[in-house]
Amino acid sequence: MAIEKTAKKETYKYIQSQKTMERASKVVPCGVYGHLGPAEGCMIPTSAYPFFLSRAKGSEMWDADGNRFIDYMCGYGPNVLGYCDPEVDEAANKQMTLGNCTTLPNTIMVDFAELLTDTVRKDWAFFAKNGGDVTQLSIMVARAHTGKKKIIFVNGYYHGVAPWTQKPDSPGVLPEDCRNSIYVNFNDLDQLTKVISEQKDKIACFIATPYMHGNFKDNVLPEDGYWAGVRKLCTENNIVLIIDDIRAGFRLNLHGSDAHYGFEADLICFCKAIANGYNVSALCGKNFLKPSVSSIMYTGSYWMSAVPFAAGLVNIKKLIDADACTYFKKMGTRLTDGLTKIAATKKVNLSISGEPAMFYLMIKDDNSLLLHQEWIAECVKRGVFITNHHNHFINLSLTEELVDETLVICDEAMDVMVKNHPEVYN
């Protein structure tokens, strides 16, 4: 390792963050709602985490108190080149001077659609703003095309927050919202075959992430033949195969995660890493679905804004030029191999799952996950921003030096956790 192991005397304090949260709680529900907030179960204990940033650059960010972090959440995915990438920002700034949210779309929309469809090997691209916009559209397209109602989900899924993606016991969701939902297990072709044989005349689509990158459990990769089997079943039964590539898109394979796993989706949803943090999402699809998507009235005030297209153009070109996914895998492997070694020396049962570019961590020495949460908290308080129960992300600006610094901090944090629990680690 390039950096010597040195114990830090003090861990971070978050005085300004907490003061700001007090202000925020008065005027914003939850203070910070949704996945960036501390109420969603990814920041445990909340006292170990900052709540607000002052700035971010590359793979690093500084909180409201000036504490520096090496960030492995990457804005939960959008930061794919590095925060404030100069070339992307320059293109965005230039486009801003030419017009952004205008009466007619700028020609740059077509430039971006051409580059995107060419990159992900689909025939058309429909732009919106967030992942949920395009997962919603994908369901509508499937229903419009097939004339059928039902949706097959894979247990443990996440496809956004619209009522149809939720369970009927979620606040604000009606049982009727979930009436057309069918749930199957990942990697279980027999079960899928049975479900389809029973209800094929009602099933419009199968929607899934390319692998299971859910929370609170090991992430699961597709078994050999799984996606080929799903593809075959969908084709034979007039079921639209939708891949939600919002989280994994542009991290595993620039052609899309369906290409990564050797099959072809009918529809594929992109968002997070598409424009390095500029807000655009896209549903990309095959030609046979173009009449259906064209027939749907679906629009939004900012969906054709030009600045994100300008950013996305540069972003995708840079990802291609850098062979980014190879780099993500290499750096993810360097980090996870290092963590595996550290845990082994301390006899900590650290499970690392998923793809290296989006690694998932879980200490499995207790069934409450308290040991894991304690270790993660000690990492955060020492300057490595990782969350308890979410996959992490590698970005192109992450250097070997930063990875090695991360390992030093994680090592020290694990020492603290282990020493606090002689009843487990003796």
């Binding site: 907490q18 949260m21 007090e22 925020a24 709680s25 529900p29 939850c30 203070g31 910070v32 709602y33 907030g37 501390p38 109420a39 179960g41 445990i44 204990p45 909340t46 006292s47 709540f51 369970k167 009927p168 016991d169 979620s170 606040p171 049982p175 609170f216 069934n367 409450s368 996950l369 308290l370 949460q373 308890n388 129960h389």
Partner: protein, 259 residues
């Protein structure tokens, strides 16, 4: 079963295990209540058709409720429907004594019997204590509401139409609900069924901890919301969080049955 019937059934379970069941903590937390309870040692079976079949036990100043386990009882009270039992709780009807008719009169036939005194007094504290800012009465109200909420969670998770969806998903294990350094109760999930133990968990898999009696009171009274408390650190959740996520979905339904 119709939605109305299912809600009446759920309410009956909540009424027995949460409303009557909280007497257990009332006599622990209030010396005067304990003295009243001490006046009578008795085992009463409340047997509700299509509803709870449980025991209410007065023993040397302690009170407990539990599912009927076949033991010999002093009084066996029967209601022919959950609605009827709910009317009994609302003081609009009397149950049918199948055993111990004279003991029944001594148990709940007059306003001055220990059971009637205790239920009336506890209802009064739960109703009026909310408004008595910073007083011991409000603190007692908060503690009793905390236990009633915990007891209701299990019953709603086992019976309510929506609550059952979340209840059935909760992973096996114990959830410790605590008012820090003050009170603690345990929700036990086992095979999709929930029970509440009004004692601190010895082997919790997840934790929901209010930082103070004030926070617990404000949350129970609906003056602040749980998500904001998580952000501010007034409410700590840790451990196996999926258990708490599902529990919170049931928690959202509690006011419908415990208002």
């Amino acid at each position: 079963m119709s939605i109305a019937k299912l809600e009446a059934k759920t309410r009956a379970f909540v009424n027995f295990f949460a409303a009557i069941g909280t007497l257990e903590k009332f006599v622990e937390l209030d010396e005067k209540a304990k003295a009243v309870a001490k006046q009578q040692n008795i085992i009463v079976r409340f047997n509700v058709k299509d509803g709870p079949d449980g025991l209410l036990i007065f023993n040397d100043g302690a009170i407990s409720t539990l599912p009927f386990d076949g033991r010999k009882v002093d009084i066996h009270l029967y209601c022919n429907s959950p609605e009827k039992f709910n009317d009994v709780i609302d003081d609009k009807a009397m149950p049918i004594p199948l055993k111990g008719i004279f003991k029944t009169l001594k148990f709940m036939g007059k306003p001055e019997t220990p059971f009637m005194v205790l239920t009336k007094e506890m209802s009064s504290i739960l109703r009026d204590g909310k408004r008595l800012d910073g007083t011991p009465e409000q603190e007692l109200c908060t503690k009793l509401s905390f236990y009633a909420m915990a007891a209701a969670l299990a019953q709603i998770g086992n019976n309510d139409r929506i609550g059952k969806l979340a209840g059935a998903r909760i992973h096996d294990g114990e959830i410790s609900m605590e008012i820090k350094d003050l009170e603690a109760t345990t929700i036990i999930a086992n095979g999709g069924k929930l029970t509440t133990k009004m004692r601190k968990s010895e082997n919790p898999r997840s934790f929901m901890i209010f930082d103070s009696i004030e926070t617990a009171g404000q949350l129970i009274r609906g003056e602040i919301d749980a998500m904001s408390c998580l952000s501010s650190g007034k409410l700590v959740m840790k451990g196996f969080i999926p258990m708490l996520e599902d529990l919170n979905k049931i928690l959202n339904i509690v006011p419908k049955y415990l208002s």
